[in-house]
């Protein structure tokens, strides 16, 4: 049953505020002022995708792509470790861009009710989800071949935390705008259709250690998990959720929206074949 505010939401808020504060402090630091005790790193320095795009140059020349620092590579490593264990938790728990889309999506649900998330037909949605991989390939290729952080010119995450400065590319601002408005109609549109980092982390869902699993013997096929999933995954039709769009948000699990205990879980191993007899549907 849905709680009033989940732990995940709290963590999302914490990271959103933290990244925003660091980005703002970075702006202040450039003019000689900064908030003490708060980091003033650039948003590029605290984005794990920066580590991904600089890998080629780091391996071939020992240097970083402009504006990328060691911290991004460290965060990339942490994200990969988490993804191997639990899947793309960075997407579902930490990424501020994903979080703000989700929050706007709540407005969208209120506006459109059951029509929310239905504006794009499932077939087209299924095809569009592969566009992320095109973006991923292009970003990595162009960064590797030029040594420049070209993605920053279209990156809505960068725009989200830089729009108050004068050096955000118009394209990035437009894409941010489209993303935020799109979130009113589709849940997490950037994550679903365009995020290159999500595309990469999503691949870890194929072999992560702790998987989201559905117990078919206790499942009552109510589809609550399907409705709860922000990425439009048909959880009710699968045993192990290995969809590359899963963001490990846990909304489909029995702790959140699934009404039957121990039916949809993040786990390793198999379900206990004998469910507790005195447990009832929530």
């Amino acid at each position: 049953m849905k709680k009033s505010i989940s732990i995940r939401t709290i963590i999302q808020i914490v990271f959103f505020v933290l990244v925003g504060a660091i980005a703002f402090n970075h702006t202040l630091a450039e003019s000689g002022q900064s908030i003490p005790f708060l980091a003033s790193a650039s948003v590029h320095a605290i984005c794990p995708f920066g580590g991904v795009v600089t890998l080629y140059q780091l391996v071939t020349t020992g240097s970083f792509v402009q504006k990328i620092h060691e911290s991004a590579v460290v965060l990339m490593g942490i994200a990969f470790l988490l993804a191997i264990l639990f899947g793309p938790v960075i997407c579902g728990w930490i990424c501020p861009l994903g979080s703000i889309q989700e929050w706007i999506g709540k407005l969208g649900r209120r506006l459109w009710g059951k029509r929310y998330n239905t504006f794009i037909p499932k077939k087209i949605d299924g095809i569009l989800k592969y566009a992320r991989y095109v973006v991923l390939f292009m970003v990595i290729y162009m960064t590797a071949s030029t040594g420049m952080l070209l993605f920053a010119d279209v990156d809505p995450y960068f725009a989200l935390f830089h729009f108050w400065t004068g050096d955000t590319a118009i394209a990035a601002l437009i894409i941010l705008g489209v993303t935020l408005i799109g979130a009113l109609f589709v849940e997490r549109p950037w994550c679903r259709y365009a995020c290159p980092y999500g595309a990469l982390l999503g691949l870890f869902n194929k072999f992560r250690i702790f998987k989201i699993k559905r117990n078919p013997s206790t499942c009552i096929s109510c589809k609550a998990c399907d409705h709860a999933c922000p990425m439009g995954i048909e959880v009710s039709g699968q045993g192990n959720i290995t969809d590359t769009t899963c963001i490990s948000c846990m909304e489909c699990t029995s702790e959140r929206h699934c009404p039957v205990p121990h039916t949809v879980e993040l786990m390793v191993g198999s379900f206990n074949p004998k469910p507790d007899t005195d447990e009832s549907v929530k």
């Binding site: 000689g32 140059q57 020349t61 460290v74 988490l82 050096d167 191993g269």
Partner: protein
């Protein structure tokens, strides 16, 4: 074994904290580039001094003044920075915005050139443009300028093109000039200018792009491509990478013959490669340029 939401939350936070603190403890957590420029190596005539070609756009004029021993007011005058701008925090990369409407590209590269010539530091002259006032100051200062450097500066100062009837005094911002743009929005309690309108610097000096080689890049920002002057052949400049040279039609074998070694990483800047391998960039550049022609 199942993981609940609370356990996952703890795991996420723990991984982040432990990962970051471990990296920090190992000295691997860096969120900024070191702003200390590289120094000339032992054996160089300027051994131990900071290399002007390692000046970056993120450096401020104050930092450049301190690192290279150039009076900050000299820099202000050379680049026509208004007197109310705090040079300690004013970054070189702002020059590109300030001079955005200028027919010549003034940027970080221009500052590198100016500092190198002002302090008589070994430096490969490229095609960086300089403001007229900066070129005049250098000629007047004449700290061991070579003949090549004098020709370069005189081409800027005494070049043919200009119809500009008056040469504005670089120390006196003209009335066309507005406060330089600052790319950040930091509100000025301080001297950082808050407006976003670009400065209109000393106008109409396109003859400043008549240095020895006709290239237009003055931004100091490597973009991996040879820059082009409209209507002229593609050129190789200080920001060119090996990828850019290959894109101009030169083969890897030709490059290897010029540099006398194996083809390095394509996204490496040619100038950086020359510096790291003891080659003269101007020689390599001219040989590669001949191959392009």
């Amino acid at each position: 074994m199942r993981i609940g939401i609370k356990q996952l939350a703890v795991a996420v936070i723990l991984f982040m904290l432990v990962g970051i603190y471990s990296a920090s403890w190992m000295g691997l957590w860096s969120t900024t580039n070191s702003k200390t420029p590289a120094k000339y190596e032992a054996g160089s005539e300027a051994a131990g001094q900071y290399r002007p070609d390692d000046i970056r756009g993120s450096h401020t004029f104050g930092e450049v003044a301190e690192l290279y021993g150039v009076d900050v007011e000299v820099l202000r005058k050379a680049f026509e920075i208004p007197s109310d701008v705090d040079m300690k925090v004013y970054q070189l990369k702002n020059l590109e915005t300030v001079y955005a409407d200028s027919p010549i590209e003034i940027g970080t590269g221009s500052v590198r050139t100016f500092v190198a010539l002002y302090q008589d530091l070994p430096y490969e002259l490229t095609e960086e443009a300089l403001p007229l006032g900066a070129a005049m100051m250098l000629l007047e200062h004449d700290n061991g300028l070579s003949d090549e450097e004098k020709v370069y500066l005189e081409a800027i100062v005494g070049g043919p093109a200009q119809a500009a009837p008056t040469q504005p005094d670089p120390a006196q911002p003209t009335t066309e000039q507005s406060v330089p743009a600052q790319t950040t929005q930091a509100q000025p309690a301080q001297t950082v200018p808050a407006q976003q309108t670009p400065v209109q610097p000393a106008p109409a000096q396109p003859q400043q792009v008549a240095p020895p080689t006709p290239e237009s890049s003055g931004t100091g920002q490597g973009n991996g491509t040879g820059t082009h002057v409209e209507g002229e052949e593609p050129a190789i400049n200080g920001q060119s990478t090996f990828a850019a040279v290959l894109a101009l039609g030169i083969t890897e074998e030709q490059i290897e013959a010029v540099i006398g070694g194996d083809m390095p990483a394509k996204n490496l800047s040619i100038r950086d490669y020359c510096r790291d391998n003891g080659l003269q960039f101007s020689v390599v550049k001219s040989q590669l340029s001949e191959l392009v022609e």
